[in-house]
Amino acid sequence: MTEHVIKMYAKREEIYPREAKGRFATLRWVCVWLTQLVFYGMPWLQWNGRQAILFDIASRKFYIFGLVMWPQDFIYLSALLIICAFGLFLVTAVWGRMWCGFACPQTVYSEIFMWIERKIEGPRSARIRLDRQPWNADKIARKSAKHLVWGLVALWTGFTFVGYFTPIMEAIHLRFGAWEWFWVGFYALATYGNAGWLREQVCKYMCPYARFQSSMFDKDTLIVAYDKSRSKDCIDCTVCVQVCPTGIDIRNGLQYECISCAACIDGCDMVMDKVGTPRGLIRYTTDNAIGRIFRPRVLIYSVLFWTIVAGFIWALSQRTPLRVDVIRDRGSMGREVDGMIENVYRLQVMNTAERAHAFTLEAKGLPGIEAIGKGDMHFDGATTRAVALRLRVPVGAAASGSHDVQVTLRARDDASLSVTETAVFIVPR
């Protein structure tokens, strides 16, 4: 018996997707415009004299319109990510890979880059011809023009990305430090590489979500499918294969490469219109083809999703922009001053809102307890500051030992803005 050598790694086959026109292509372009207007436009929005959305990592403050998030608010980011995850699960269970086909950045940027490619190198057939022909002036000109425009779009994308972390109004003057330049370059390179070169390879080999979303699929999940019962209507024009950005033949049934972009539906509908057969030889349908949306899987995802969304909104509405820590001085137990037992604390105040406040101090928990803060207890907006706090009770008012006391900080101009912290008061023997 003869032996032969097989390769564990194969050269990638270049895909030249043909432009699809139709309902779903239009929908995708709507998604491209919507997502990119948000992405490229958001950093330019101003709010109360500052950038509306700015993630200031150096000073660890994260501005989202009226909200100022601090590192202590990280739980909200976790909640947001969980919401995104369950939202994706829910969408996937009902509508399959709708996200992949219409809203995923990989799809959106590939769409933009392919549009540029078409404008410069021409349609599918011209692109194939160009790649096969030897190098000449025309080929060099077209290829360099394409990569130049790709590069510019990528750089603008990288610049915009950095604009979320460094005020973009300053960034526009390119007053960047080394790290900003690094991230502009990194993000630009990622955009250029992923949308220009890697394209479907990202979905096929790199994206973890593409791999595990099959676990959310069932027979009622919306998929792009070829209607085998109508196979006599297929004129074998292969348009569905030519338009496919992942290079598969949908007539072979559901495949893991399919990102549900519906380019083949648009392509097939166009051909069906021309030959005068009804549309829908390839269409969005489900395995069961009965359109049952409410099933245990969907209900469970929905309940989880809406519960977390409600919890998130509730938590955000309850969030007080004031954080207080009362930390006992470790140096001393307590001391006697003017007939009072005195304990010293460090009052750590984070005024996370952007408005300055003056606060009143109040202590409870022991008879005759009084709190002495510092000055007028005025704290600037969006600052954190530690000041000394003294609590005192009359000698004899409390037994020796430790007692729990409550310290309340309340804004003078807004009684609803208050925080109560428990601290330990020690009466020495």
Binding site: M1, T2, E3, H4, V5, I6, K7, M8, Y9, A10, K11, R12, Q201, Y205, D329, R330, G331, S332, R335, V344, Y345, R346, R385, A386, V387, A388, L389, R390
Partner: protein
Amino acid sequence: MADFTSSFWNWFIAVITILSVVGCGILLWSQSTHTVKEGQGLTTGHVWDGDLEELNTPMPRWWMWLFYLTIVFGLAYLVLYPGLGSYAGTLGWASTSAYKHELKVAEADYGPLFQKYAKQDIKAVAADPQAMAIGERLFMTYCAQCHGSDARGNKGYPNLADKDWLHGGTPEAIKTTILNGRNGMMPPMVAAVGDEKDLDNLAHYVRSLSGLPSDPVKTVLGKPKFSACMACHSGGGTGNVALGAPNLADKIWLYGSSEETIKETVRKGRTNTMPAFHDFLGEPKVHVLSAYVWSLSQ
């Protein structure tokens, strides 16, 4: 500098690291092709549930190049940075030099601000709200451990918010104290005072200086014993700022005013150290800190 006493461990680590990197390369190269019998190789040969076979679909080639790239990266890293035993790397990177660099960057950021204040009079600095905010943070970070968050001191650590100063309360004296530190030393004086009875009498006399309740007879008997203390605490017990000797005639007591405490102080002496911050913080920061501390008692 090696962390081990024997150079064996340096070689041990270096050889294992190099062998692992090279081994990864060999594994990658040897596994990129397989020789199989004709008609085989479509599946990996793994079968589940009797008939579920794993297809041998090849990975894209660029993926393999990424693997090789990580090996190149790893080798380049090992040449540039410390990683192979005690080899320091051609860049000479070390965490200590990285730390020094960070300090330099911070100095470039904040240095000019402190330099600006360093040129001003301490009292002028104390009138500057921004400087006082900085001073407050410096105090909370470097001073509050001993002197308390409210600067009112603890037993053995002076109160900085009152008008009583062991070594002088002028802005300049405070700055000198912070820059150079202070050593407070009261020697054990019991030998010069006499026996237990004399000590007891002396304690009563010392208490009487600040108007604390004391036995009148013991006070009278204790007064001559105070001659042993006058060299430092002066005749009326009012202390001596030049020596850092506390005023015994006021209501402020560093260690306590009870008879027992006073006797213990005389019997055993007291030693107190305020560390010097000149080398640690630098003069410009101490200047701002001095202004803050001075402002506390104004």
